[in-house]
Symmetry: C2
Subunit: 396 residues, 2 copies
């Protein structure tokens, strides 16, 4: 048998995938996922838009397109999304349309990370990116988090010590913790990237899912030297199944990522890009958000209320103002993988043990869990938390 490349050593797929197999049982109330609510998809709008696109530019949509992005989508993204985030100076050469923000993350790593390069990551962080960075044979170094997200003192210390190529950060409603970096920290990260010359890979899939509080400017908006690459996605504001994302960066970086994408998949589907483009151009995003945010707010509230009602007092948790996740920690500890087994088989409820979001799951996050609140209706959330709370109390 021909041997696989070294970059694939130990890369066996996400543990969460394995956990998902536990969840196939439809009776299970799942806090384990990370999908947007299927009720949030503007299905009738997508139907109407798609019909129009195929009627008006069907042959163009079906032909090969350019790697950079289809038609006016880069421009529409700038006008309808980026400018509202405070990114006021973008031109089309700052934009690359990607196959979800996943591909944006992958391409950023592809053009920057050599084997052995240090990449700093929040601890805990999104598992998928850890796996992706491992395929580039990066040396991953964790940055400590406090209640407001990445600890800037620890970040600077690690930057000085390791001289990293890159810092991967999810500044808003972070996965898995739901934490949000304040304005001052965002600015500090941009300044550190300039001072010590490293790339900030700013992953912002959840920023528009804000249920209360004031929006914060992206780290990219404080970037004066071009070292911040921001990844956005239509997955949570329109549909993940369409696989449309956006990378925003310095023109030289975007050009390099475009060449890398040309080798990777030539271009993203024109049809799904055209759907995202029309959705923005018709000005439908604000109304759509106004429709779905109250639904998510009710689910978040059901979760926060339910945890306080049914979980032991030794369970502390984040109270995010948006996103999809609440993060909890049980003082004293508990074997979370064992609890998950009991939860799915006996109580018919699921969550993700938090340790899997750490670089070293055997040593970190043993007493933590990630709870997703987007998948179920409020009553089901309450019921699930009651069952899970009972199980935790019994296990203590």
């Amino acid at each position: 048998m021909v041997s696989f490349a070294k970059r694939m050593d130990g890369i066996t797929g996400s543990i969460i995938r394995e956990i998902f197999k536990l969840l196939a049982d439809p009776e299970i109330i799942s806090f384990g996922g990370g999908n947007p609510a299927k009720e949030s998809f503007p299905l009738e709008t997508v139907k109407a838009i798609t019909r129009e696109i195929l009627d008006e530019s069907g042959a163009g949509v079906l032909q090969y397109g350019t790697t950079e992005g289809y038609s006016s989508l880069p421009r529409s993204y700038i006008t309808h999304i980026a400018q509202k985030k405070g990114l006021t100076n973008l031109k089309e050469d700052n934009i690359l349309i990607t196959c979800g923000s996943s591909q944006g993350l992958d391409l950023t790593a592809r053009v920057f990370v050599d084997p052995g390069d240090v990449v700093l990551v929040e601890s805990p962080t999104f598992l998928g990116t850890l796996q992706m960075l491992n395929t580039y044979q990066a040396k991953l170094v964790p940055v400590r988090m406090d209640d407001e997200g990445a600890d800037i003192n620890d970040l600077e210390e690690k930057v000085k010590k390791y001289r990293p190529k890159m810092f991967y950060v999810i500044p808003t409603f972070q996965n898995p913790t739901g934490k949000t970096l304040g304005r001052a920290r965002r600015e500090s990260i941009a300044r550190l990237a300039e001072k010590y010359d490293f790339i900030v890979m700013e992953d912002d899939p959840y920023g528009d899912l804000r249920y209360r509080g004031e929006p914060l400017p992206p780290i990219k908006s404080f970037d004066s030297c071009g070292n911040v690459v921001m990844l956005n996605s239509f997955s949570k504001i329109l549909s993940p199944g369409l696989r449309v994302g956006v990378a925003v960066g310095d023109p030289a970086i975007i050009r390099k990522m475009t060449v890398a994408k040309q080798s990777n998949d030539a271009h993203t589907s024109n049809l799904t890009q055209a759907i995202a483009d029309a959705f923005l151009k018709k000005g439908l995003l604000p109304g759509h958000l106004a429709e779905i945010l109250p639904m998510y707010t009710r689910r978040l509230d059901a979760m926060l209320t339910g945890i306080d009602a049914y979980f032991p007092e030794t369970f502390t948790h984040t109270s995010p103002e948006g996103g999809l996740f609440v993060w909890g920690e049980l003082a004293g500890g508990l074997d979370m993988p064992a609890l998950l087994k009991a939860a799915t088989s006996q109580a018919k409820v699921a969550f993700i043990p938090g340790q899997y979001f750490y670089l070293d799951p055997a040593a970190m996050g043993q007493n933590t869990m990630r709870l997703n609140f987007s998948a179920a209706a409020p009553e089901r959330i309450t019921e699930g938390l009651e069952r899970l709370g009972k199980l935790i109390k019994n296990a203590l």
Copy 2:
């Protein structure tokens, strides 16, 4: 400025992209492209199918999907395409749906090629794959071709000398030459891969565009040890803009490629996969091919006739039985890039100088050209060849 990864050294994008900018002039009759004819897209069918999909499973299509492939597309591909190619023993774990065959090629390289690994390539071959393999820092070694494609003796010699990780081959209606490997050579390649333990990356985007002659079994059909990975695409038989392709391989390889794809883009768009799936399940492919093949046949015939009528006798060319390209060579030689400049500016006709399809364009293929016949109607092809022929004769 943060430095790019070494894998991007010298990777600046395809020269063909630059040439395409020369072709923006709509008056130009272009033999330079490689796109399927826009008249070949079953637009009305796609419209009807898409409406049905969104009506019947809209929410499922808009949600995240699995990395392996959406719904029944892997099964439909096996039944409606692979089995007809003589691949009779495939199961779903032999299949990964990709974002065009581009991504299939990229993922195959990603899981197998370490920096410095030798990859043998036909000489000349598809430029995009050369660029992609360069990003994996492969050491590329050319294999000689004769009229029937890759020379098996030269292949075995190079295999013995370089002990390659992989051989990249386009067996049917090759890009850029239009050449097709015979059955015996296909079997020999599979046997060599078994004997010397290397991967055959079999790229088959054009196989179904056969205008005459008998179909040949893929190299994969002679594979008894699992060393052949075959890449297929819906780009030439349905639509390239949808970006749907298929990788076929040994389950252990497909599993590794699936993990790599999970890190790359999570999954291919569900909507475009569902369109390809319905197209197959409704049994529409054979009728669609029956409709478009005669159109392509007329274009190929116009090209072969036109070359013979208008080009000098010292111009020899391939006479492919399918695909999109004819390859020609001018005895004695001519500065093809200079000819291209004159052709686009004076004669308003375009082609691609063949040297760009070689690993060493400064030393190889100086007197060759690739002529695409899929983009223009037969009368336009005839007219373009008359203009180009005149220019060549004047330049001699």
